[in-house]
């Protein structure tokens, strides 16, 4: 007779350890995904806030905000960006009241550093690896007095679409919400003849000024399509001209005009988020939709356009 066994054999211990190991390896990715799901939800909520703010803005001003900052290119064309315009509707009246639209250098003026440098989490998507903070902004030199040479700006990940541009489709450009097509005047909800629920207002173009290709890998400077914008840090901060033509790209995110419209690059006109599988976008009715990476280009184009009269397919 062998003695009564006490405790575990080595094999049993090893088996138990192996099972625990497998279980942990199953659990850890789930935890990471739960975190990302929470960040995505926060991001969705931010877009919802922007959608509601723009409705309140329209109620007050009977039009949508002028989307262009227009600070430098045509002098004398100073108007505020949509980010600045809707501050009162985002419960940021204090910041809005600090802003001096008559300052000689606009947002680059020392008088406006405090406002423009404000970090507002509502304009940032938590999934963006750059995080919410401050980046170097542009140096505007309309007037040399009071020019802010140490200009820093609060980051922003949300854009409005000026148009959808793709030279392989006819017509090659269709105009987006908030734009009259010429920068001459603002538009109201009545101009969005496709319907507010069928027209995109805000979308994600995350992580500026850090330019990435597909899968979030950094894009080399030699591969930039629009180096000037990156060099001058003209975008990526909420008070700036946070709008662009949305362009299609190839799936690598290396050359524009291709079959991909979501999550291939945040370079020139690329709609990009760090959410797995797609991007958040808010429609004119305030609803936030998740646009899949595999969305058909023409469907996405119809979603961007405000008056092209096409039936918006399912996506």
């Amino acid at each position: 007779m062998s003695p009564i066994r006490r405790g575990f054999t080595l094999v049993e211990l090893l088996v138990v350890i192996a099972i625990i190991g497998v279980l942990i390896s199953l659990l850890l990715p789930a935890v990471q995904q739960a975190r990302e799901a929470a960040r995505r939800m926060q991001c969705t909520n931010n877009l919802k806030q922007l959608g509601l703010a723009i409705h309140n803005y329209h109620d007050t001003h009977r039009s949508l905000p002028f989307p262009d900052m227009g600070v430098t290119y045509n002098s004398g064309h100073w108007v505020s960006s949509w980010g600045l315009a809707i501050l009162p509707q985002m419960e940021q009246s204090a910041a809005y009241n600090l802003f001096d639209p008559t300052a000689a250098n606009g947002v680059s003026d020392q008088a406006n550093q405090v406002v423009v440098g404000t970090e507002l989490t509502a304009f940032n998507c938590p999934s963006t690896p750059r995080g919410s903070g401050q980046i170097q902004g542009i140096i505007e030199d309309q007037s040399t007095t009071d020019l802010n040479n140490d200009f820093v700006a609060g980051t922003g990940d949300y854009f409005v679409a000026r148009s959808f541009r793709d030279d392989t489709i006819t017509p090659r450009e269709i105009v987006g919400a908030l734009f009259d097509g010429s920068y001459q005047s603002t538009v109201g909800f009545s101009a969005i003849t496709d319907g507010l629920s069928n027209t995109m207002f805000f979308f994600e173009r995350s992580n500026f000024p850090n330019v990435v290709k597909a899968n979030g890998s950094p894009k080399d400077v030699s591969e930039y399509s629009y180096q000037q914008v990156v060099d001058t840090n003209f975008q990526g901060w909420w008070a700036s001209t946070q709008h662009d033509r949305i362009r299609s790209w190839n799936f690598d995110g290396t050359i524009y005009y291709g079959p991909c419209v979501v999550n291939c690059t945040n370079d020139w006109g690329g709609a990009y988020s760090f959410h797995a599988g797609g991007m958040n976008a808010s429609a004119g009715d305030g609803s936030v939709r998740f646009v899949s990476e595999t969305v058909d280009k023409l469907t996405f184009r119809a979603f961007v356009g405000r008056n092209e009269g096409e039936v918006l397919g399912e996506f």
Binding site: V71, Y73, D141, D166, T168, Q228, T232, I255, E293, K297
Partner: protein, 159 residues
């Protein structure tokens, strides 16, 4: 026995890795890997973007697929339709060529128009470039694109 166990663990590891490898799912039509070269006034046109516009509607796609490539320092380019050097679907194409000037900077900072084309837009419209190519099965190299006596944008270099 040890060999057997190692094999089992290795197989398990492979299975787990394979499960994690979720590839992007998009529908494609067959493409033929294609490359070419481009020179402008005898100089390899580094950074030139060559784009192929289909002359007729392609079968099996909603919107036209326009393969494109960017020339490297030796003027050589690989066409991409979806990703990587996957080439172009077979067919007849009109070609457009743009050669953005990377040295150009907008005056005074600020939101700039697109960088100017060093070829002054001469070949940017596929209908007017007068360059055509045909991609067919087994044809892996399109005829070299040689542009001679092209007026170059003032202030731009060929490098």
């Amino acid at each position: 026995m040890i060999v057997y166990r190692t094999t089992v663990w290795a197989l398990l590891g492979v299975a787990v890795l394979a499960g994690c490898n979720n590839r992007r799912a998009y529908e494609t039509i067959p493409t033929i890997p294609t490359s070419g070269t481009i020179t402008v006034n005898g100089v390899p046109a580094k950074g030139a973007i060559v784009r192929l516009y289909p002359k007729t509607k392609q079968a099996g796609v909603n919107s036209p697929l326009a393969p494109s490539g960017r020339a490297d320092a030796s003027g050589k380019f690989q066409l991409t339709t979806y990703s990587g050097p996957d080439g172009a679907p077979p067919g007849d194409y009109l070609v457009s060529i743009e050669w953005p000037d990377p040295a150009w900077r907008p005056p005074g900072g600020g939101m700039a128009p697109p960088p100017p084309d060093r070829l002054k837009g001469r070949f940017s419209n596929p209908q007017r470039s007068k360059i055509e190519v045909t991609i067919q099965e087994g044809d892996n190299e399109i005829e070299p694109i040689v542009l001679e006596e092209v007026a170059i944008l003032k202030g731009s270099s060929l490098q």
